[in-house]
Symmetry: C2
């Protein structure tokens, strides 16, 4: 069992954030000894899940819902499964978007390399939007589609 200060160091989170999470209900039924929070394995796994769900774009209140399901026991396994299945879709979508963002950035890296070599953007403007070198055209099209 750990105190809030130890957990703060282990997870690189300020104690104020941990208290805020607790206040928001992210550690339902956390143990206390004479007022002081005791973080156990359950709370540590909760924190790992919190980090993960935050990265996946969820708000604190949605994460709280999940933690409440956990506290309710085996009757909520189906909700918890549905919750992660849904979040899987969300994150897969996010990653696809980020790949598009990355291709836009790769294109811009190439673009400015050419601009530096040429000293201007004249040749580049002539190539746009569909007379770019093959590899670059793929990046450009992916980044600009939809």
């Amino acid at each position: 069992m750990y105190t809030i200060g130890q957990i703060s160091k282990l997870f690189h989170l300020p104690t104020s954030t941990l208290r805020y999470y607790d206040k928001e209900g992210l550690f339902p039924n956390i143990e206390r000894s004479s007022g002081i929070r005791r973080f156990g394995e359950k709370e540590m796994e909760a924190l790992r899940v919190i980090e993960c769900l935050k990265k996946s774009g969820l708000e604190i209140k949605d994460i709280k819902q999940f933690m409440e399901w956990c506290a309710q026991g085996s009757s909520t396994y189906p909700q918890r499964r549905e919750f992660f299945l849904r979040q899987k879709e969300v994150v897969e979508g996010e990653i696809r978007k980020m790949e598009k963002v990355l291709d836009m950035i790769r294109f811009k890296c190439w673009y400015y390399e050419q601009a530096i070599q040429d000293g201007n953007e004249d040749r580049l403007h002539e190539m746009l939007p569909d007379h770019l070198p093959k590899e670059i055209q793929l990046l450009y099209d992916h980044a600009h589609e939809d």
Copy 2:
């Protein structure tokens, strides 16, 4: 040339957001005819870049800096190239993090499927942290590393 309302529809952004971006300096030297903003190809490409850079985690003030370099002409090609090279690193890192998040979620999907089948988490608790089925262990380890 388009009005703010047309651009709002084309980019699915409220006009209030477009005006906010303008106020924050994201369209330096945007044309106006009797007070009304005229969005041209330059502003449309700016908007595509804004969407992209926002997704990559940048704040409006950093994006403004880039737009100012663009307005300054060819002397800032090197800064702009460095800017995108840096952002490429950032986004590649983001994607790696999201792949980790995804593996945690995949693990949890499997976990709750097992829990539903078993009716409890006893067998799962016995398998943790390193006696999971091969494929699942890979997900778990990737998600929990560091």
